[in-house]
Amino acid sequence: MKPLLVVENLKVHFDTYDGVVKALDGVTFDVYEGETFGLVGETGCGKTVTVLSIMRLLPENSRIVSGRIMLRGENLLEKSEDEMAKLRGRKISMIFQDPLASLNPVFTVGEQITRVIMIHQQLSKEKARERAIEAFKLVALPEPEKILKTYPHELSGGMQQRVMIAMALSTDPDLLIADEPTSLLDVTIQAQILKLLQEIKSRKKLTILLITHNMGIVAEYCDRVGVMYAGTIVERGPVKQILKKPYHPYTKGLLAAIPKPESRKRRLHVIEGFIPDLINRPRGCSFHPRCPYAREVCREKEPVAEEVEPGRYVMCHLVEEVMVA
C-alpha cells in the first residue's frame, strides 16, 4: 500500500507574549491510501496544529520550523498560497469540530455548497446545484432540495455536520481530514456520523485522517492510529495491535483509563501529573515527569522512534532497551 500522506519531523512554533510555544516537536507519521488513520491525544497535544499545518491554515504568529509534508510525493510546505488554495477543498478537504460555527450564518447552505462546487469545477449554477443535491443524498440528508434553502442555524447539529461532510466530499477529494467531527454531538448522532463516514469511504476511494480524543472511536473506526503527546507521536501502528499490546507508557495509561464496567477495581486509573509547559519543555522525554517507569536516561535524552514490530513505531527508551537486549 502506498502512503498518500507522509509527515516527516514536523516542528511548529508559535510566537506569543509569554514566549515561544513549541507546539509540535517533530511529528512523523504516514497515512496509507484507502485507510482511516486516527490521530488521538489529549486536548492541547497538537492534533489540530498538525492538521492545520497540513492545510497550511495556521494563524499568523506561527512558524513551521522544519519538516516535510508530502502529499503523493509533493512537499506541501513548499507550495505557494495560490497552489494550496487549489488543493484545498479539491484534493484535501477538512471538516471541523463545530459545524454551526464553520458555516456562514447569512447564506443558505445551498448557496455555500454550490459556491464551493463552482469554485473547483467550472460548472454552471444549475449543474452545481444538481451536484449539491447528489452530495446531500450521499450523506443521507432527507429532502435535499428543501435543505438547500435552509440557513445553518435552522438545522440540527447532526444535519449541519452532514452538510459539512457533503461540502467536503462534493469535489471527490483524495484525503478527508476530520478534526473531532463528533465531539460536540450527542452520542447517538456521533455513531451515525462516523458510520456514515465509513460507508462513504467504502463506496468512494477516500482516505480519512480522523482526529479525536476518544480512544473508543479509534478502536471502532480506525485502521491505524498515532498517539500524540505534547507535540510528538509517541506510538503509532495498526489499531488492533496497539489495543492488544501497547508499548508506550502513555498509551498504556490511556487505555487503562477507559472505564470498564466488568472490572473489579473501585478506582479509575489516572495518569498522574499535567501536560507539560510547551514553552519550557522538559529535558529528555517529554512524558518523563508523568511516567511511572521513568529512569535516568529518560530525564536526559530524547527518545527516537523505534520500529519495534513491522509497522509499529514507539518513542521510548525502555523499548530501546528491550530491543537492544
Binding site: M55, F96, A101, N104, V106, H153
Partner: protein
Amino acid sequence: MSGFRQYLVKRIILALVIVIGMSMITFFLARVAPSDPAALWVGLHARPEQVEKARIELGLDKPLYVQYFIYIRDLISGSWGISYRTRRPVIEDIMNYLPASIELAVAGLLIASVVGIPLGVIAASKKDTRVDHACRVLGVLTLSTPSFWMGLTLQLIFARILGILPLQGRLSPDVAEMNPIQRITGFYLLDSLLTGNFIAFQDALLHIILPSITLAAYSTGLSLRMTRSTMIEVLRERYIVAAKAFGMPKNVIMFYYALKNAIIPTLTVLGISFAWTLTGVFLVEVVFNWPGLGTYTWRAILAVDYPVIVAVTVISTLIIVVTNLILDLIQAYLDPRVKL
C-alpha cells in the same frame, strides 16, 4: 412574512412614542424656561398692558397641559406657530431652510461613506501592515479635528490664500442675480441640473465642496474605525477559516462572503454617521454661513425664539427616528438569524 409585518408595526408604534415623548419633553422644558415669551414677542420697550395682551394672544395664560394639546393640534394641522424673530410662520422658514441642510448633510454623508467604509475594509484585510496603520492614523486625525476649526482653516487656505474656492454661502451673489435657480426641490444641485442651468450648477458645486468636506471629516473617521473593527471580527470567525479550507480564494472571501456578514453592522455605522452628521451640520453651517436649518436654529436660540426651538426639535427627532427605523427594518430583513 407576517412576522415581519408585526415587527414593522411594533417599530412604528415605538417610533411614534419616541417622537411624542420628545415633543412633550421639549415643550414642557421650553415653557419652564426663565425667559418670558410674551415679553420677547412684544419686544423690549413694550408697556405692561401690551405684554399682557400678547400673553393672552399667545395662549400663555391657559394651563400647561391645555397649551400642550393646542400645540399638538396645531402641529398636526401644520400650523407651527410664528417665529418671534423673523415674524414668519415657522413652517415657512423651515421649508425654506431645510433643503439646504439636507443637501449639505447628504453630501457630507456620501463623502464619509465612500471614503471611510472602503478604507476600513482595506485596513482590516491588511491588518497590522503599514497600510493598516496609515488608515488608522487617518481615522484618528479626522475624528479629532474640531469641525469649526477645520472649516476656518480650509477657508483660510482655499478661499483666501489660494482663492480657488468660494468662502461661504450656497451661491455667488452675481450668479444668484444673473442665473437664478428655479426652485423645484430646493436642492440647488438637483434643481440647476433639472433646469439645464449649468452655470449655477457649477457655482453651487464649488460652494458645497468645502462645507461638505468639513462636515464629512468626523463621520469618515468614525466609519473607517467601525468598518475596520467589524471586518476584523468577521474575518476571525470560524466560517472564514472553513471557507479557506474549502478552497475559496481570498478575494471571493473578502468581497462576497465576508462582506455580506459585514453589511448588517455597516448599516449601523451608517446610522451613527448620520446622527453625527446632523450634529456637525450646525457648526459647519455657522462657519460657512450656509443658509440652512442649523444657522436658523442657532439664531433662534440666541434670540430665545420658542416656537422655532420646539419645531426644530420635533423635526430633527422625527428625521432621526425615521432614519433609524428604516435602517433597523433593512437590517432585520437582511439577517436570517433574526426570528421575525
